[in-house]
Subunit: 248 residues, 2 copies
């Protein structure tokens, strides 16, 4: 599995992804699942992936190669004029890679080769946008009603985002929120694990923002992980007590 | 989907189940998923079910009918001498019902007819025990290391149980804990919904304990539901702030 979140804030976007890949619990590895492209002053694009690693690596490699083919007449993500075009290109590439493998196992697409992607960023005069791309190559866009997307193991870490997310929060608060969400997921699902990759995109900056990696033994991550257990228990204690009186 | 939890405490067991069944989001109904049997002074048995409703209703009906067949030489759950025997009987019945439908769709069992059960209680001199029964009819038992089982939509509501469960907690605290867990699940998954059925079994009482139903508009449930959002946000605020200093 995998866990990646893309979060839209008033001041920008926060991307966070884990690094565990596995083919069975007895075969785990560490791979980066976040790729960033930028042309300072013109565009910043972040892609995160969940699903078959061969598929997602092929998608990233194809996108990279095509962005360097000088004579190519088709637009690539480095020349596409909008985030919508970027998402369309990424979706088409994803569908192409999955189809290439699916042919090998018959006419029906084998879901074993599937992947789901998050693509977010900003191009030129356009708005900052975040898309979730399906294996079929089509996609949906985040909005004020649903200002974040998760892919991979989404369930354990969802309740805290639903409860504590606020579009006006600072980048620091958003990172804290995502670390709580990742910690709950990591505690419950062995196939999600640090180190965690982070990219903070500042709205209208049109360039790669802060990127860094948070290790499993990072002091702040451990503080959040341990502190959240205690904080949850305390919050639970403060809730009003149940009484049988009204139910007998 | 469904959400049911069976929780072992030092002083007894708490069972809670939702009541929503669905065949698509446009076809929802309310069905009780908890069945209790008791012979005061001799046994108390609680069964909760997740999965195909036709399967789980057939299992309960078969168990009921067989417990009333006077001349039957095979033991039924009302005469079985231990909780292990009860679990074995229930598992065998589940496997039989699934197999009866699976034959109709070919040699391979169609997972559409599957169900998973929780069976807990106490018989005679035996210990209080809790089992999770798989569609194949085999089962696992809760222990001090894993003192609770969830079936159905287990993920959203799991982190809070992992963090706040304590075997010494009172029944009241356990109900509060389960309501928080159910609330998180209900908020995230449309296929889980109140009313919630509850059974509190007191260790060594060998009879049905308190049973009651908590409706969606129950004042205490609403208090927990609303209070938990605020409590979570407050707990989140109290966690130490993130600072970019160490990551640049």
């Amino acid at each position: 599995m995998t866990y990646c979140v893309g979060l839209c804030l008033d001041r920008g976007m926060v991307f966070m992804s884990d690094t565990r890949t596995n083919a069975g619990v007895d075969n785990i590895s560490t791979f980066r699942k976040m790729t960033n492209w930028d042309v300072p002053g013109e565009r910043s694009i972040t892609l995160m992936s969940a699903g078959n690693l061969a598929t997602t690596q092929a998608v990233v490699s194809l996108i990279e190669e095509r962005s360097k083919e000088v004579a190519d007449r088709d637009p690539d993500i480095m020349s596409a004029k909008s985030m919508f075009q970027v998402a369309t290109l990424v979706g088409r590439t994803l569908k192409e890679v999955i189809a290439a493998n699916a042919v090998m196992v018959g006419q029906r697409a084998d879901s074993a080769f599937n992947a789901t992607l998050l693509v977010g960023g900003q191009v030129g005069d356009g708005e900052m946008r975040l898309f979730l791309i399906y294996p079929e190559g089509n996609f949906i866009e985040a909005s004020a009603d649903t200002p974040f997307f998760q892919i991979g193991e989404t369930k354990y870490g969802r309740p805290i985002i639903l409860r504590a997310y606020d579009p006006t929060m600072s980048f620091e608060e958003a990172i804290k929120l995502l670390l709580v969400s990742f910690d709950s997921t990591i505690k419950a699902n062995l196939s999600v694990s640090p180190p965690l990759d982070v990219h903070i995109y500042e709205r209208d900056s049109l360039q790669l923002g802060r990127t860094f990696r948070i290790d499993g033994d990072d002091p702040y991550f451990l503080e959040i992980s341990n502190g959240w257990g205690a904080a949850l228990r305390e919050a639970f204690t403060r809730l009003p007590p149940f009484s049988f009186d009204k139910y007998d």
